[in-house]
């Protein structure tokens, strides 16, 4: 990729704002695209976008700014290469409110299992597969929170979702993972 002539100031800005978050950008991109090779393409493209937009950085949260661009780029990439991954929110029934049905099914199994069994018998490959199988809308929230450690507020900023939606999607994502781990265990 070639950027052409660039301002020395922009370079310094990029080095200070974007470069420290490259590792995180790669982790998020690899979870969103599902593999390393595609993640490399996304990170590279995101860096180009970030570099072009570097002077528009407001100077508040570099990490959230970088991850927002990475997420945008990943979505563009998926729309072009794997459009079936991008599912409209309406396609998830009960997205904004958790139904009794969902909770009921959950509770019935939860109470019958010792709390620590999940972790004690953890198979990392199954855990990874369960995350990969999550719909993108849930997966991104789970990765940003539980792998990258962002606060709800920051996730809302990166995904442009209301904080309440971040919370409900995170809850559902975690339940799906736990449910998947339990199902494959039996």
């Amino acid at each position: 990729m070639g950027v052409g002539l660039s301002d020395e100031e922009d370079r310094k800005q990029f080095a200070g704002i974007v470069v420290p978050h490259l590792s995180e950008a790669f982790v998020v991109a690899s979870w969103l695209t599902g593999n390393r090779t595609d993640a490399e393409d996304v990170v590279q493209e995101a860096c180009l976008r970030a570099f072009r937009a570097i002077s528009s950085f407001a100077g508040v949260n570099a990490r959230a700014w970088v991850l927002t661009i990475v997420r945008h780029t990943a979505y563009s990439w998926l729309a072009k290469n794997r459009p079936s991954e991008i599912v409209a929110v309406e396609d998830f029934p009960g997205e904004e409110r958790l139904t009794e049905q969902c909770i009921g099914g959950w509770s019935a199994t939860v109470t019958s299992t010792p709390e620590t069994a999940l972790l004690a018998k953890l198979d990392v490959r199954r855990l990874e597969a369960a995350i990969a199988a999550l719909p993108l809308a849930f997966r991104e929230v789970l990765i940003l929170r539980d792998v990258q450690g962002l606060e709800y507020r920051e996730i809302a900023e990166v995904t442009t979702l209301p904080v309440g939606t971040v919370m409900s999607r995170l809850a559902r994502a975690r339940r799906r993972i736990i449910g998947a781990l339990r199902t494959t265990e039996e």
Binding site: G16, L22, W31, Q44, T111, E115
Partner: protein
């Protein structure tokens, strides 16, 4: 609040995202509901599994180099750019003022910080950040035998969320020095131990260079230099824990 809301709030509770008043309310509900308590425990277990057991997905070094080359950041570790950095650090030194800055010899300290970061960044770009990989301090310490004259103090901080990853030898001021590699989530900390009999002990000093933080302190004839892209708060926590830990 409906039951489903409560169940969601358990997640916000685990994540420490509730304000104190709500946290108390939700905490009480959890205490009186086996179902909510089960969800709490499951969620905690999952969070821990995700944090500690997922294999790290590390940025390929060639990608970093390509990106840096693409935007014209070339070889930040070469001498000319370090001179520029040293100048900026010198300014930071003046602004920093007070306490520990006064006991440091600025020129030497700046050179060392640059060299330590040099080693850290080289390691990040290499296939592995450590030349030998082990989380066991009794394996790491003897590894230095024959490589350098004095093995460093190695402590186990896994309990505190800073697992030992391994070790390598960096060259700083033409001298091979032992460097321990610790992890923090997906971040890497390089801790170089440089023999330095001239200085007494003292509080930690910090520097920030191009998005990396370097925290240094001195004790028992050794200068310790920790470099990482971690926030300075977490890096200072690491430094405090290392200093407090019993010698190994």
């Amino acid at each position: 609040m409906s039951p489903s809301d409560d169940s969601q709030l358990v997640h916000a509770y685990v994540d420490g995202e509730l304000d104190p008043a709500h946290a108390i309310v939700v905490g009480r509900k959890i205490a009186s509901s086996p179902e909510l308590a089960a969800e709490l425990e499951q969620t905690r277990a999952l969070r821990q599994a995700l944090r500690e057991h997922l294999p790290p997905r590390t940025l390929p070094p060639h990608l970093r180099s390509r990106i840096e080359a693409a935007v014209g950041i070339r070889h930040r570790w070469t001498r000319p750019s370090w001179q520029a950095l040293a100048a900026s650090i010198a300014i930071a030194f003046v602004l920093g003022g007070g306490s520990t800055w006064a006991v440091l010899r600025p020129a030497a300290g700046d050179r060392t910080a640059a060299a330590v970061l040099d080693g850290h960044m080289r390691a990040l770009m290499a296939p592995h950040p450590a030349d030998m990989t082990s989380s066991e301090r009794h394996t790491v310490k003897p590894w230095f035998n024959g490589r350098i004259s004095q093995a460093p103090r190695v402590v186990d901080l896994a309990q505190d969320g800073f697992p030992l990853i391994g070790a390598r030898v960096d060259v700083i001021d033409n001298t091979p020095v032992p460097t321990l590699v610790y992890g923090r989530r997906l971040h890497i900390i390089s801790l170089s131990a440089i023999p330095d009999e001239d200085r007494g002990g003292g509080a930690a000093a910090r520097r920030s260079i191009n998005g990396y933080n370097v925290v240094s302190w001195h004790e028992n004839g050794v200068s310790y230099w920790a470099a990482s892209d971690l926030g300075v708060g977490e890096l200072e926590t690491f430094a405090q824990l290392f200093r407090k830990a019993p010698a190994g």
